[in-house]
Assembly symmetry: D2
Homo-oligomer: 412 residues x 4
Amino acid sequence: MGLKELRYAAKVDLTKDPAALPYLHNRWHPDIPNCGTIKNGEVVKIECVDWTGGQIGNNDSADDVKNVDLTKVHYLTGPFEIETAEPGDVLVVEIQDVQPLQDQPWGFTGIFAKENGGGFLDDMYPKAAKAIWDFEGIFCSSRHIPGVRFAGLIHPGILGCAPSPEVLSIWNKRESELITSCSHMERVVALAPQPVNVHAGTASEDLKSRIGQEGARTIPGRPEHGGNCDIKNLSRGSKVYLPVHVPGAKFSVGDLHFSQGDGEISFCGAIEMAGCITIKFSVMKNGMAELGMKSPIYIPGPVEPQFGPGRYIYFEGFSVDENGKQHYMDATVAYRQTSLRCIEYLRRYGYSDYQIYLLLSCAPVQGHIAGIVDIPNACTTMGLPMDIFDFDISPGAPVKKIDMGTCAFASD
Amino acid sequence: MGLKELRYAAKVDLTKDPAALPYLHNRWHPDIPNCGTIKNGEVVKIECVDWTGGQIGNNDSADDVKNVDLTKVHYLTGPFEIETAEPGDVLVVEIQDVQPLQDQPWGFTGIFAKENGGGFLDDMYPKAAKAIWDFEGIFCSSRHIPGVRFAGLIHPGILGCAPSPEVLSIWNKRESELITSCSHMERVVALAPQPVNVHAGTASEDLKSRIGQEGARTIPGRPEHGGNCDIKNLSRGSKVYLPVHVPGAKFSVGDLHFSQGDGEISFCGAIEMAGCITIKFSVMKNGMAELGMKSPIYIPGPVEPQFGPGRYIYFEGFSVDENGKQHYMDATVAYRQTSLRCIEYLRRYGYSDYQIYLLLSCAPVQGHIAGIVDIPNACTTMGLPMDIFDFDISPGAPVKKIDMGTCAFASD
Amino acid sequence: MGLKELRYAAKVDLTKDPAALPYLHNRWHPDIPNCGTIKNGEVVKIECVDWTGGQIGNNDSADDVKNVDLTKVHYLTGPFEIETAEPGDVLVVEIQDVQPLQDQPWGFTGIFAKENGGGFLDDMYPKAAKAIWDFEGIFCSSRHIPGVRFAGLIHPGILGCAPSPEVLSIWNKRESELITSCSHMERVVALAPQPVNVHAGTASEDLKSRIGQEGARTIPGRPEHGGNCDIKNLSRGSKVYLPVHVPGAKFSVGDLHFSQGDGEISFCGAIEMAGCITIKFSVMKNGMAELGMKSPIYIPGPVEPQFGPGRYIYFEGFSVDENGKQHYMDATVAYRQTSLRCIEYLRRYGYSDYQIYLLLSCAPVQGHIAGIVDIPNACTTMGLPMDIFDFDISPGAPVKKIDMGTCAFASD
Amino acid sequence: MGLKELRYAAKVDLTKDPAALPYLHNRWHPDIPNCGTIKNGEVVKIECVDWTGGQIGNNDSADDVKNVDLTKVHYLTGPFEIETAEPGDVLVVEIQDVQPLQDQPWGFTGIFAKENGGGFLDDMYPKAAKAIWDFEGIFCSSRHIPGVRFAGLIHPGILGCAPSPEVLSIWNKRESELITSCSHMERVVALAPQPVNVHAGTASEDLKSRIGQEGARTIPGRPEHGGNCDIKNLSRGSKVYLPVHVPGAKFSVGDLHFSQGDGEISFCGAIEMAGCITIKFSVMKNGMAELGMKSPIYIPGPVEPQFGPGRYIYFEGFSVDENGKQHYMDATVAYRQTSLRCIEYLRRYGYSDYQIYLLLSCAPVQGHIAGIVDIPNACTTMGLPMDIFDFDISPGAPVKKIDMGTCAFASD
């Protein structure tokens, strides 16, 4: 009588190479074998490794970030067969809890080197850097960014159901067209299927080889299933409505974040961690048609950290880039400028730009589309909660520049 | 003894042609004569006409929207000389209240025709349309969009100080370069100076003519001074920090909104109204250098309408456009898709797409940059507050499609 | 077409003696003549004088508070006949707005002398005192209590429908029994009907005389109709469900407050003001039976000033009084102790006890019943929002005692 | 390098009789031996049994509640010596997390029989009853009260430092005086020291015997140290400032609640559970004098479940009791009436009064002192969050009475 301890649908062993763990995989493909079955209506716990599979250490050097092997990421837990789920259904995922693993109470935020991964501001900040965050209950703080402390809005960066062969084929086609059309650009614009370091759970070598050829990378999120959407508010208590494309849904989850700012601007920008997520799964039959749904929708949970609206400082940015060039209604350019405005402001307290770049990536900053119709300037804003600092950062308060130490850098 | 009734720095006469009112102007230029002086530290009331200067009527036809004369907009109240303000200072604008004019308790939301103004979704919705909103205290509702009612987050769409000659010259140069470089595009990408229908307050004819040649249009907002930033949260109790570029600051304000959604997607998308704003002005000497400020910053007020986080439905959109084309990290494309996802969802209650397009423009929807680093897909979200509807729009609730009437259209 | 300016159901003339204004009254009685009629579903504006009818001035002496004539209070506007309302119905009162009168942008908070009115802490603070508050848009501040400023949670202290003869008779009987049974106490425990200074609107002299004999005082609130409930959250956007006891409901309203703390501890404790309230009236037929309602219920509005939960300091108090005596589960004793704990804390910044007593009466403090079952100690708490102070009052911050001036006192 | 797993200052063994566990105790006394030492600045985890020490089972009978042995309660974990703490200091307790024990994901709410424990409404509801709550991540629901589900605001009901001999003597004196003075009352008004079932940790038999004679019961909370204050908002992220009365502070904690309503009206009214609390301890030297502190103060955490203000229904109650008798300014009577008003309202959905009584005890209802100066009626309010119900309980929504099953009762 009474609820028993919840079932673990998967437990991870952090002492093993993630590539050897049968309940992990690092590509999206309909044929990755299920690693378990979950009933419609069931609540289970699912453990996840951090997205890099343990490539990053709790230390004061960013060499590991600089040299990270991105062909291996992200290690997701799954796929799980959800009983009764059929294509056209919607899988309702209620996130009842997310926690770090008890014996690993820390996470990391990284800035990738421009030549290996990059990030939103890599033109200005091309070097690898890192901050380690210690978890104290609901709070976190970092020896690499003194003076800040905040409650986590803990969430999975990635969750979704497997693509059908048709959906996968659309992904591969449109992304390869982009790669082709952008071949003149100096940067990687999309990640084509990558046969190296494929992990496809318990797939046979043949199947694994085919998945390497066809399987979609876990970067980026995609409209048809969500995936790597990096939405900071998919936290405790939220409900996500996911399109189902294959029988049994084949649900996977990973890339757990202790906290993230809107945009996750440094790319490895959330506070990345290994952890455990508790989910209740329910199937809404024929849900895609009923909800008119093409992409996931969600409802946030009720326990988000709440600062009063008057406890944020908001910065504004427009579609004029750092060289003074006018772009046409470009919200991406605007958000980059908004981020830079915030960096410029926080400098006055003694932080280095890299420290701030790391901080804006992982602290619960609010990134808004403010105006997107006044040609040619989109206006975006970034709201920085003042109460995460242990000193007063309001514009009217006295300023004292102090020694803020340094974040971790690569040995170069 | 005791505070007297606040001083009106300007009162508007809605029965007159706004082009004849000496305390209005519709271009940005350093030489527009001041229409009054405000002390450092003073609190004043400033009345404003609606941004079109009364071109739109409280009726059931969108002919006025279709035929709006955009060379006349926006009518701003000002400029005001703020005593002691000098270039390099920051003008601190505390918005102590904003109210509609007592004898005009209504506003409008419009969709411009694609060929005259357009909007964020004009490829899909090219026709002119309109909704009239009645104000009942803090709430508004519309006979053109039944079933919704919400409290206004009332704010000015435009406020800022005049550009210096140097700043103005930068604006004109970079925007004309954009116009030139985009000449192949089928749409207007920016508004060059426009000598027709110039209103420059009490300027002499000669000066007015020069302002017509040089003056920047009030569309768009610009990083150097803010201006038309259309930030829905610049509401009661907020504090805005504005760069000062000319002696006396030459502050102007207008384009009052009873409410607006993030993005203001239909362009004439807020609930536009005439009204009165109460502002306290203070000068922060040498503020631009002290705050490291290149663009305005602000702190929201404490009385924003608050729904619990769990009372929003969030829609997701990615950088894959409606034709299935993959774009590279384009948050603008993503936000357009996000908007469409929301329209598709609300259809099931009987609303027409035009009604929803109007609604998302003016209701307090939250538009977020979620992820902007997972190449090639930016992910944006739009949060729709469920409690503005008088029926249950949550995904799990039963749906009954009902007759929602129609918004106003042009007679075509 | 379109909404016209709202109808004023009553406008007050502050230059006249309120006792001469036909749309005011200061007793509860079923026979006070209606001063107007309001349709079921109608929205109207109703102006109110301050509760004392102008006895208190905007000056620096509390002589007026000391000598206030309490036989005159409260001046309520009404009663209004609400069409279709019958006994047993519920009158739904949606408060769409409340504002101070434009030409009287100030209010007052008073501490009554112990021998004339008294208050919650009159044993410790027996002297009359006063603070004047200036309104700047949504904010208020006082020259008598420097260092604080906050947004009003503006509301009526009193609203309700007239009692039936039966209800009135119950009130008179039970309150007179209390007076009799408490005759040994040294204080006034309830206010019996008072023939002096009766104002009964347009009642004939005969009727007025009878109302003086029978009419219930406007102090206190009573369970059968609400009345003087002094609930700070009956603010803009709230909906109150009021029992109807007489045909036409006979609704009255008054005692407008710019702000009030939970408890309104100094009795004249809110920021009292003259103002205008906008109400939408609707009748719920047979509502009392349908809702199982014996006392009013209400739903707050969405625009309350919001501080984050972590921006309050909470003080605790228990049922042990200031003399060390243990009381049995007495929440009133506990709340008095809670108030004293807060006063003791704020002393360290330089405020006098009287200043703090005034402040806790009118600032938006949260008064909670925490535990009421652990015999013999009830525990109550008072939450003080830190952000109303312009210095940091958190327990860990450095303290600097400064000259806080003085509140107004009576001349001897 | 990097934070290690947090230290457990105490782990409980639920398979053992709590009276045999050396790190528990159930009386307040300065001489109970410390069960461990915690450094100033240290973060530790502390496990607690439920307050009854396992007397209540996860089943469908309330016999255990009816027959509970209250001489045994509450079992607290501690006392802990906090290094450097001295009398006059303040112990700052930051609650970084509270969680149920992983292998016991359930809790209970009980109504004690009037003759054994009683509760706030025992005159109306004298029978023993019980509801079992299952925990699903942050949420809980009960098979005994269908239709509701909510996120826990998880907190300790009891925490505090040991009394000094002087403080203990004050407690015993004033409470025994109350018992004497109330000997005519038909109910137990306070709990005198009770030698039966004393648990004093590792105390010798002699010491234990003395503690039984002198030690204060854990019911109630007391102003000098807090203790059993049952404040629902002492949840994750909150900071409590506790007076220190003995060298080393001798801190104890227990009575963990998954959720509680303001007042905890049924006495065993929170969702009682065994669990683990993570605390950071710091000592503020000479804090009592510096803060002017006589009773604990606290600052809530930032992650409280948040409903919008407009998502509560508030009920009002006054100092007129259920027999129609007028009391003088009695907030306790008023809050009892407020509770009854809420019960009467919820009946219409099919709940029994006992189910509602249980629900109001443990759901996050807001209990406010509204007005406490309008003689003779105190007015209190209770806010019921609508969103904890899976149907619409707003006054205007259609009502369907359904079969709500039953809570657990005693076999009688």
